[in-house]
């Protein structure tokens, strides 16, 4: 770095700032919006100077939405809870099913193993809308419509293929001989899976789990069709802000800030694993 001149360093700094502003501006703007009333948000031209208010957050937390026309009830916190429950449930279920399955696909080549793995991946190809109508009819018949279990089951369709295919790559990267060495030293295959394969694939499993969580968290269409008001996640719940008396931009912004928070916190916490996990597989090929 000692070769770079002062000018170069300044230019580089400016370039970095431009990039950061470009990517971060929408988020920054949303954060700013969340502290404003609809009036200040919608003024022309927009301005950075305003009197901050916590009214939006207060409305979300108390569940009372005051519009110019009337007072509405909203269930944002409940929606947030639903989002957490559905996403965590789906990811946990997918990890439970997907990690052993990924191990099996990576280690044992049996007749039709590729076909099964591909079939599971193909769930991701189908446009959700195509699946939804028959799915909701079926769910109503067997009583799974509008239940958490039914929703988690459907969410798991998003997570499982993702986890299966990412984690499988990690298991394939681990030399089977390491496991053989462990088994020949007197351990069963299950202990080997637990003590050798799982810890070695941990970064990959963490990365896959996090990605699956984000996908599940951001899902809209499945919950829109299959969940009633009290089981809706935030993505669907946000529709409540489109009221008869106008769109509540302030509350939408603060709802976004609150719903980004859990994923952001999780991503920051797992950042180390995520970068290591997603790049390690690519580098090792």
């Amino acid at each position: 770095m000692e070769h770079t001149s002062l000018l170069e360093r300044i230019l580089r700094g400016i370039a970095l700032c431009v990039v950061v502003v470009f990517f971060m501006f929408p988020i920054l703007w949303i954060v700013l919006m969340s502290f404003q009333t609809n009036d200040t948000i919608l003024r022309v031209p927009p301005s950075f100077i305003f009197e901050p208010t916590l009214a939006n957050y207060k409305a979300l937390i108390t569940g009372k939405l005051e519009t110019s026309a009337a007072s509405l009830e909203i269930h944002f916190l409940r929606n947030l809870g639903n989002s957490v429950l559905l996403s965590v449930g789906a990811v946990a279920l997918s990890l439970l099913l997907g990690v052993p399955a990924a191990y099996a696909f990576a280690r044992h080549k049996f007749r039709g193993s590729e076909d099964i793995a591909f079939t599971l991946l193909s769930f991701r190809f189908a446009p959700p809308l195509l699946v939804l109508l028959p799915l909701s009819l079926y769910f109503q018949k067997i009583g799974l419509a509008d239940t958490y279990i039914g929703l988690i089951w459907v969410y798991q369709l998003i997570c499982l293929p993702l986890i299966l295919w990412i984690v499988r790559g990690y298991f394939e990267d681990i030399s089977p001989d390491i496991e053989y060495a462990y088994r020949i030293a007197g351990h069963s295959w299950f202990t080997t899976f637990r003590k050798i394969a799982l810890p070695l694939a941990k970064p990959g499993i963490a990365a896959a789990g996090l990605l699956a969580f984000i996908f599940a968290w951001n899902n809209f269409i499945f919950a829109l069709v299959l969940a009633s008001a009290d089981k809706q996640p935030v993505t669907v719940g946000a529709l409540a802000f489109v009221t008869a008396s106008g769109i509540q931009y302030g509350q939408i912004a603060s709802a976004i800030v609150l719903s980004i928070a859990p994923t952001l916190a999780l991503a920051l916490y797992a950042q180390r694993y995520l970068v290591e996990g997603l790049s390690l597989g690519a580098v090792k090929g």
Binding site: S175, D177, I178, Y180, A181, R183, I184, A185
Partner: protein
């Protein structure tokens, strides 16, 4: 010989289905006695590692049976087979340091902590890795990882030690040193080991017997000196020995008391008194129209009685001279222990002593004779009795090696 510790009986290994899969090991039968070191030697893909992994239990035996110390291994999981193994790819546990990796092999044993520590120290000293015991596998070189992996295998008290290319990554100097130490270690403890290698020097130095494999088939299983002096077939003859054996297609003429090997594509012939061969060899030679004549490079001598050859290259390796010469339209490699002054283009006269000639059947590749002696198991086979497979194999080998 004592009762075998390990018996491999008529084992076949297919990867994939029996009809369309790869036939990696073909009808392999061999026995290893207690306290013996056996080397499986062959080029890549000859089935030696597959054999080792079938013994360890990492590959299923397609057909046949393997017995170790009275236990039928085919259906036993690796845990219960009583074997220890050093892997070609090291396969150390990344989260453990070298000391823990080596000690790990003793985890399920009854040794106390201090006994384990002493054993690890001893093995580490032997393998010259005492200074890296606290390091993790990721922080040490390939050669060091390989020695750690070898240590992890040797420290175990197993019926059979399987060593897959245990020294492939080591520098030549270290390899020579460790070969000696490892042999002493194995012999002094009465361990039995099977070593997979493609390095003949390693096989010769370590093994009591060498199993030469090619294309999934066991070519010869004998002591290093027997393989060198009495190769069972053309493959064993040309594969073992560095530089490789010179081979020439020749037509046999026996008249009165003279025998001549008329070299293919050439006016020259190797002529000898029939008295130089035993009658059984002469009888065998009479039965063949053609033979392949093989001679080891160090058995080629200079003599006025010999055949002229034109020097192509003269290489002094510091302790021996390798001369490549154009001999009867083919290449001849000759090894001399003194520094030779011949320059490329010079003509020398080379003589092949009848005692050092190996005759091979050009169709089957089987050895006919070694010097005066008839090859042990040679029977006069007529070409049409041969399996096409063996015939093809020998032709490929002969064609390749006489170029």
């Amino acid at each position: 010989m004592s009762d075998p510790l390990l018996s491999i009986h008529a084992v076949d290994k297919f990867y994939g289905s029996v009809d369309t899969g790869v036939h990696a090991v073909r009808d392999l039968s061999m026995e290893v006695v207690p306290g013996e070191i056996v080397a499986l030697l062959g080029s890549s893909g000859c089935g030696k590692t597959s054999t080792l992994r079938m013994i360890a239990g990492f590959e299923e035996v397609t057909r046949g049976s393997i017995t170790l110390a009275g236990r039928e291994l085919n259906k036993l999981p690796p845990v219960k087979r009583g074997v220890a193994m050093a892997f070609e790819g090291y396969s150390l546990y990344p989260p453990l340091n070298v000391r823990e990796n080596i000690a790990f092999a003793l985890k399920s044993s009854s040794f106390s902590k201090s006994e384990v520590a002493a054993k690890v120290e001893e093995i580490a000293a032997m393998l010259e890795i005492s200074d890296i015991l606290e390091k993790r596998p990721g922080a040490i070189s390939g050669g060091q990882q390989q020695r750690a992996s070898l240590g992890r295998a040797l420290i175990r008290d197993a019926d059979l030690h399987l060593l897959d290319e245990p020294m492939g990554q080591l520098e030549p100097q270290l390899r020579a040193l460790l070969r000696g130490r490892m042999k002493h270690f194995i012999k002094s403890r009465g361990l039995t080991a099977i070593l997979v290698t493609h390095d003949q020097a390693e096989a010769n130095a370590l093994a009591d017997r060498i199993a030469v494999m090619e294309d999934g088939t066991l070519q010869q299983f004998d002591s290093p000196s027997a393989i060198k002096d009495r190769p069972a077939n053309l493959f064993a003859g040309t594969f073992i020995g560095e530089p490789p054996m010179n081979t020439y297609h020749a037509k046999v003429n026996i008249e009165d008391n003279r025998i001549a090997f008329q070299l293919a594509d050439s006016e020259e012939a190797l002529r000898y008194d029939t008295a130089a061969f035993s009658t059984s060899v002469l009888d065998a030679a009479r039965g063949c129209d053609h033979v392949i004549v093989g001679v080891r490079p160090y058995a080629v001598t200079r003599s006025d009685r010999g055949i002229p050859a034109t020097v192509v290259v003269n290489q002094w390796l510091g302790d021996q001279t390798h001369i490549a010469a154009d001999f009867a339209g083919a290449t001849m490699i000759m090894v001399e222990h003194d520094r030779a002054i011949d320059k490329p283009g010079d003509t020398i006269s080379v003589y092949l002593d009848p005692d050092s000639l190996h005759l091979f059947d050009p169709h089957s590749g089987e050895a006919i004779s070694h010097g005066k002696e008839l090859a042990r198991e040679h029977s006069l086979k007529h070409p049409h009795e041969l399996t096409p497979q063996a015939g093809e194999l020998s032709q490929i080998n002969a064609g390749h090696l006489t170029q």
